[in-house]
């Protein structure tokens, strides 16, 4: 009886133990001088959209801090599939504001809802150009209802565009697991609660391509930095 109680206690104890997991952290930096961004002249020339700006808006393919830290890099675990918790994850939001997509780089899970808003005083069409998922093209009137998208298949940098305003782009990376992050202006990223094990970590930038590194995540997590170079 004592043995049984002991085994039962051990079982309950191990079941109550939190699953072991660590965070993957790192910094992405850019080496070299990126090409100069361009003025979005057609936006300023557009009667409705141009009125929303006092100064000329520019493209922002390379968001780099003075220290060389690179934003808008999607970092994810490569080859981890079928682990999506997208169906229960809170929806991600993509807004059309000032006749640009905000944010322009985003990552979501397969099955996760992506809500697209139109905060502009003009009509937009929300047009996806996927490689693995079905293409969608829907009109969204000013003040119109939000559009909801979900994607079943993972794919990198799925393009959203507006053909009414052809300078408007967003790129949404769809990942088949919750293990991803997008770097902020400080170039830093954190992928939370990764089960211990060996993985391939991928860092992908819209213009600079992708880099990978083999890492081992322990209970205390892992750290991996990447350096991209403009050639």
């Amino acid at each position: 009886m004592k043995k049984l109680l002991l085994l039962l206690s051990l079982g309950i104890f191990s079941a109550l133990q939190p699953a072991r997991a660590g965070d993957i952290t790192g910094v992405i930096t850019l080496k070299g001088v990126p090409p100069a961004e361009k003025d979005i002249t057609p936006l300023k020339d557009d009667a409705t959209c141009g009125a929303l700006y006092d100064t000329m808006p520019t493209t922002h393919f390379y968001v780099v801090s003075p220290q060389g830290e690179l934003a808008d890099v999607v970092v994810s675990l490569k080859d981890v599939t079928g682990k999506s918790t997208g169906a229960s994850a809170p929806p991600a939001v993509l807004d059309q504001k000032g006749c640009v997509y905000l944010p322009s780089i985003l990552a979501i899970q397969t099955g996760q809802k992506l809500i697209v808003k139109n905060s502009d005083p003009c009509v937009h069409n929300v047009h996806t150009s996927p490689t693995a998922n079905p293409e969608v093209n829907e009109v969204q009137m000013p003040g119109g209802a939000d559009l909801t998208f979900t994607f079943d298949k993972p794919e990198p940098f799925l393009k959203f565009r507006c053909d009414v305003h052809p300078w408007m782009f967003a790129w949404v990376t769809v990942v088949d697991s919750p293990y991803f992050a997008v770097t902020g202006k400080d170039g830093k990223f954190t992928i939370k609660n990764v089960p211990p094990g060996k993985y391939t970590l991928e860092a992908a930038h819209r213009k600079l391509g992708a880099q990978t590194a083999n890492i081992e995540v322990t209970d205390s997590g892992a750290t991996q930095n990447f350096t991209f170079e403009v050639k």
């Binding site: 990126p34 090409p35 100069a36 961004e37 361009k38 003025d39 979005i40 002249t41 057609p42 557009d46 009667a47 409705t48 959209c49 493209t59 393919f61 003009c122 009509v123 069409n125 047009h127 150009s129 293409e135 093209n137 829907e138 009109v139 009137m141 393009k159 507006c162 053909d163 009414v164 305003h165 052809p166 300078w167 782009f169 213009k207 600079l208 391509g209 403009v230 050639k231």
Partner: protein, 316 residues
């Protein structure tokens, strides 16, 4: 004639749609934003939708004019084959309208290439009908004609076919929606023949900042633009040879020789516009002019050949 002019303008407007990357700005068809196409409120005629919507409206005008033309040819034209040409024009304009609609509804960019190719064919057909029904064509039936040597006619025909192939290459380039695959001219990425290795393509993509049409470029697109350039040089030499052969064989006063030099002038302008398209980073107006002059170059070759063939037949 009115139909031919409207068709030429329609090709220009279609060129503006693609140059402004606006082909999918109105996602529904035949309705526009859910409205009857002819009742779309003016407040929605903005940005890319302005080009796409006016393209649809002008296409409707061309469709209407072609229907009238086909009916008129069937009812009034004594030459039976002309009625068949009218029916062919009608069927082609209907097919072209459906092709344009399907490009939108099926969201198939590749259909845009066929849409562009059919547009060029339709322009040649409508202009040929205008030529055949012209007073000049019908009144000169009994005039004394000077034959055009077979070799010269074949040369013109081959160059015209090559121009059509070039327009297909150009339509394929334009419907990649990737901006300029090569951003310099006369060199290509700084070389006579650009490096298309994976590392080079990655470097081009890292360096290019596009405001519109921001798809990454591929080695295929770079090679395609190089083929477009080589075919352009070949066509230019072919047209120059045609002009000088016409001068030699027909004499400087002959209308066809003058027409051949007009063709050469068009090709010169076209090469300049091609270069300007690159130097202006594919400015929409310049790129569209390049499309329109390309259409005129095809048309000039086709009409030259038709007139030469008829002259030779009447002289025999």
């Amino acid at each position: 004639m009115l139909n031919a002019v409207a068709t030429f303008l329609l090709i220009g407007l279609g060129g503006l749609v693609t140059s402004h990357e606006a082909g999918m700005s109105v996602p529904d068809w035949p309705t526009s934003y859910g409205y009857n196409m002819f009742a779309l409120p003016i407040k929605f005629w903005t940005g890319g939708a302005f080009f796409e919507h006016t393209h649809r409206l002008l296409a409707s005008v061309v469709g209407f004019l072609t229907t009238i033309l086909a009916v008129w040819l069937c009812l009034k034209e004594p030459r039976k084959w002309m009625a068949w040409l009218g029916i062919a024009a009608f069927l082609l304009v209907v097919a072209q309208g459906i092709l344009g609609g399907m490009r939108v509804r099926l969201q198939m960019a590749s259909l845009g290439i066929f849409h562009g190719a059919v547009a060029q064919t339709f322009l040649v057909l409508v202009c040929a009908i205008a030529l055949f029904t012209s007073r000049w064509w019908q009144n000169s039936e009994t005039e004394k004609q000077i034959p055009v040597p077979r070799g010269l006619r074949k040369h013109i025909l081959y160059v015209t076919i090559l121009i059509f192939i070039q327009l297909l290459i150009a339509a394929t380039m334009r419907h990649q929606h990737a901006g300029l695959a090569i951003s310099d001219f006369p060199l290509a990425h700084g070389k006579i023949w650009p490096d298309t290795s994976a590392a080079a393509i990655a470097s081009y993509n890292a360096q290019r900042i596009e405001v519109n049409g921001e798809n990454p470029i591929t080695a295929f697109q770079v090679n395609l633009q190089m083929i477009h350039r080589l075919v352009a040089y070949t066509i230019f030499l072919g047209v120059a040879a045609a002009a000088f052969l016409s001068l030699k064989k027909l004499g400087g006063r002959d209308a066809l020789a003058k027409f051949a030099f007009f063709w050469l002038a068009l090709l010169t302008l076209q090469i300049v516009l091609g270069a300007a398209t690159i130097w202006t980073n594919k400015a929409a107006d310049i790129a569209t002019l390049h499309v329109m002059v390309g259409a005129l170059a095809l048309l000039t070759g086709a009409l030259w050949w038709l007139v030469a063939a008829r002259r030779t037949r009447l002289a025999a």
